[in-house]
C-alpha cells in the first residue's frame, strides 16, 4: 500500500501539474495533455498496438538479449585477462563513439534492411555499459575468493562462474543502464529504414506534424520503460539478495 503510494505519488502530482499547465495551450508543439490522452486512446487502442508495439518489443528483447550475452562474454574475457584487454582497449574505444546513424550505411550493405539491422543497432549501442561494467566487475574480483577457487583446483568453468557471480552486482548495473539505452536505441533504429514499430510510428507522427499522437507515443515509450524497469528489478532483487545481505542491507540497522 505504502509502496504504491510512493510509486504513484510523484507521477500523480506531475501529471496533474502538466494537465493544468497545458490545458489552455495553443502551441501546436505542446498540446494540452487532455488532447494527448485522447490521442493515446485513439492511436494505441486501435490495433496499432499489435502491429507496431509487438514488433518493437520483439526487436528490443532480441537486441537486449544479444547485448547481454555479448557484453557479459566479452566483458568477462577483457576483465579477466590482460592480453585481450590490451589488444582490444583502443579498438573498443573506437567503436564506442560511432553513433547509430554512422553505423547504418555499413550495416545496410552488410546486413540489409530487415530486422537484423535494427537488432545490430540495439545490440551495438546497448552492449557497452554491460561490457565495461562486466569487465570492471570481473577485474575487481575478490582476491581471497579467487585464491580459494584456485587452491581447491576448481575447474575453469566453475571459477569463471564464481568470478561472474561475484561481479554480478556490477553486471546488473550495466544491464540496468543497457535496458534504458536499448529502448532508446529501439526507437532510434526504427527511425531509420523501418516500416513498422513504435519508433517508426512516433517518427511518422512527428514528421507529419501529428503532435498529440507523437506525444502519446512518448508516453507509451515511458510506460514501456517503467514496466520493463519493474520487471528488471524483480529479477535483480532475487539475483542480488546475497549482495544485499553481504553489504548489510538486509539486517535492520539504526
Amino acid at each position: 500500500m505504502r509502496a504504491l503510494g510512493y510509486a504513484l505519488g510523484l507521477p500523480a502530482v506531475l501529471v496533474a501539474a502538466w494537465w493544468v499547465a497545458s490545458d489552455g495551450s495553443t502551441n501546436v508543439f505542446l498540446p494540452p495533455l487532455r488532447t494527448i490522452v485522447e490521442a493515446f486512446r485513439d492511436v494505441w487502442f486501435s490495433g496499432t498496438f499489435v502491429s507496431d508495439v509487438v514488433p518493437s518489443l520483439w526487436r528490443l528483447a532480441a537486441g537486449y538479449a544479444v547485448a547481454l550475452a555479448a557484453g557479459v562474454t566479452l566483458g568477462f574475457v577483457i576483465g579477466r585477462w590482460a592480453v585481450p584487454r590490451a589488444l582490444t582497449g583502443p579498438l573498443l574505444a573506437y567503436f564506442r563513439v560511432l553513433p547509430a546513424p554512422v553505423l547504418i550505411p555499413v550495416l545496410l550493405v552488410a546486413v540489409g534492411i530487415g530486422d537484423a539491422t535494427k537488432l545490430v543497432v540495439i545490440t551495438v549501442g546497448a552492449v557497452w555499459p554491460i561490457l565495461l561494467n562486466t569487465a570492471d566487475g570481473v577485474r575487481a574480483a575478490d582476491e581471497v575468493g579467487l585464491e580459494t577457487a584456485a587452491a581447491y583446483r576448481l575447474p575453469r568453468r566453475t571459477r569463471h562462474l564464481l568470478v561472474l557471480r561475484g561481479a554480478s552486482p556490477q553486471i546488473f548495473a550495466g544491464a540496468r543502464q543497457a535496458l534504458g539505452l536499448s529502448i532508446i536505441l529501439m526507437v532510434v533504429s526504427e527511425m531509420l529504414m523501418s516500416t513498422d514499430g513504435l519508433g517508426f510510428t512516433v517518427v511518422q507522427f512527428q514528421r507529419s506534424f501529428a503532435i498529440p499522437q507523437m506525444w502519446s507515443g512518448v508516453l507509451l515509450i515511458g510506460l514501456l520503460g517503467f514496466g520493463l524497469a519493474k520487471l528488471f528489478e524483480l529479477v535483480e532483487r532475487r539475483a542480488l539478495r546475497w549482495h544485499r545481505g553481504h553489504t548489510g542491507q538486509l539486517t535492520e540497522r539504526r
Binding site: 501546436v28 508543439f29 547504418i104 550505411p105 545496410l108 550493405v109 540489409g112 534492411i113 531509420l192 529504414m193 523501418s194 516500416t195 511518422q204 512527428q206 514528421r207 507529419s208 506534424f209 501529428a210 503532435i211
Partner: protein, 300 residues
C-alpha cells in the same frame, strides 16, 4: 524579428532576413545572389543558418527563430493541414521539367531485368523519407507507367545509402536525387521512371516558406525576398557554370562531380496544380485527413 515592419533594419538601411537550410545544392543561387548584391538591391541582407534540419526547421520558423526555411511541398501541405501556419513563398528546388534529364529518378539495378517502372509493382522501392514528396514521386513514376502505385512497398533508406541498397539488391528500386542519381548510375543503376516530371512538369519540389503571421506582418520584406530570389534564379539560369563552381564551396561535393550532375530546376512560382495533386496523394497515403486550403499555403 518579424514583429514590426520594417523587420530589422540595420545601419546600412538593409533589412536582415534569416534563412535556414541544410547546406544543399539549392543554396547555390542564394549565395551567388548574395555575392552579386542582388539581395542588397532589394533592400535585404541575408543570413544563412545551415545548422538546421528537416526536424527543426518548421518549429524554428513558427517560433520566429528564423524567417524563411526550405521544406518539401508534401511536408508543407501536411503541416498546413495539421493547422501549422506555414506559407510557401517561392520555390527552392523544382523539377527541371525534362523527362529523362531531371535531377531525381527512380532507378533499378542494371542487370535486374526490370526495364520499366510498371514492373516494380509488388516490389520494394526505397525513398529517403516516407512522409515527404519522395514517396509521392516514387509512386507517381509507377502510376505514370501504367502500374498500380498502391502495390509498391516503400521502405525508408536515406539517399546516401540508396545506391548501395540498389546495387546490392537490398531493394528492387530506389528513388534518388542528385548527386546520388549520378552515383547510382555510375554503379550500374538505370533510371526507369521520372516521378517529378510525372507529377508536374513545373513541379515545386521544395519551397522557401515562412510563418503566416510573419508574411502578413512583413509583407514588404517577404515580397522583396521573393523578388530577390527570382532575380537570383534568373541569374543562375544564365550562369550555370557559376552555380556548379559554387556548390563545392559549401558542400562536400567534389568539383568534378558538381560539374556533371543535373542541377535542380529553378522556377519562380510554387506550382499550385502539383500541390493539389500532392495533397490528394497525402490523403490517399493517410498522412492527412483533409485537404488544406492551398490558398492559405501558397503566398500569392
Amino acid at each position: 524579428g518579424g514583429d514590426d515592419e520594417p523587420a530589422a533594419a540595420s545601419a546600412d538601411g538593409l533589412t536582415t532576413v534569416r534563412l535556414a537550410s541544410s547546406p544543399l545544392g539549392h543554396l547555390a543561387p542564394i549565395y551567388l545572389a548574395q555575392e552579386r548584391g542582388i539581395f542588397a538591391k532589394h533592400g535585404l541582407k541575408v543570413e544563412v543558418d545551415t545548422e538546421t534540419s528537416d526536424l527543426t526547421s518548421v518549429p524554428a520558423v513558427l517560433a520566429g527563430k528564423v524567417d524563411f526555411a526550405t521544406g518539401d511541398l508534401t511536408t508543407l501541405i501536411v503541416a498546413r493541414s495539421k493547422g501549422l501556419d506555414v506559407k510557401a513563398v517561392v520555390p527552392a528546388s523544382a523539377s527541371t521539367g525534362k523527362e529523362g534529364a531531371d535531377y531525381g529518378a527512380l532507378v533499378v539495378k542494371g542487370d535486374s531485368g526490370i526495364t520499366s517502372a510498371k514492373q516494380l509493382e509488388g516490389k520494394t522501392i526505397s525513398v529517403n523519407i516516407l512522409t515527404n514528396i519522395a514517396a509521392a514521386a516514387a509512386r507517381e513514376a509507377v502510376r505514370a507507367d501504367g502500374g498500380d502505385p498502391t502495390k509498391v512497398k516503400l521502405v525508408e533508406i536515406p539517399f546516401p545509402q540508396a545506391p548501395a541498397a540498389v546495387s546490392t539488391g537490398r531493394v528492387d528500386g530506389a528513388w534518388v536525387v542528385e548527386p546520388f542519381l549520378s552515383a547510382a548510375k555510375a554503379q550500374g543503376a538505370v533510371p526507369v521512371g521520372w516521378g517529378f516530371t510525372d507529377l508536374a512538369p513545373d513541379l515545386t519540389v521544395s519551397a522557401w516558406y515562412a510563418a503566416g503571421s510573419y508574411t502578413s506582418k512583413n509583407a514588404k520584406t517577404v515580397t522583396a525576398f521573393r523578388d530577390a530570389v527570382r532575380e537570383a534564379y534568373a541569374y543562375a539560369r544564365e550562369h550555370e557554370d557559376e552555380v556548379r563552381a559554387k556548390i563545392p564551396t559549401f558542400t562536400e561535393i567534389k568539383p568534378e562531380v558538381a560539374a556533371k550532375i543535373t542541377l535542380t530546376g529553378l522556377r519562380d512560382e510554387v506550382s499550385r496544380q502539383a500541390a493539389e495533386k500532392l495533397a490528394g496523394y497525402a490523403q490517399r497515403d493517410g498522412l492527412i485527413t483533409s485537404t488544406p486550403d492551398l490558398d492559405e499555403l501558397i503566398l500569392k
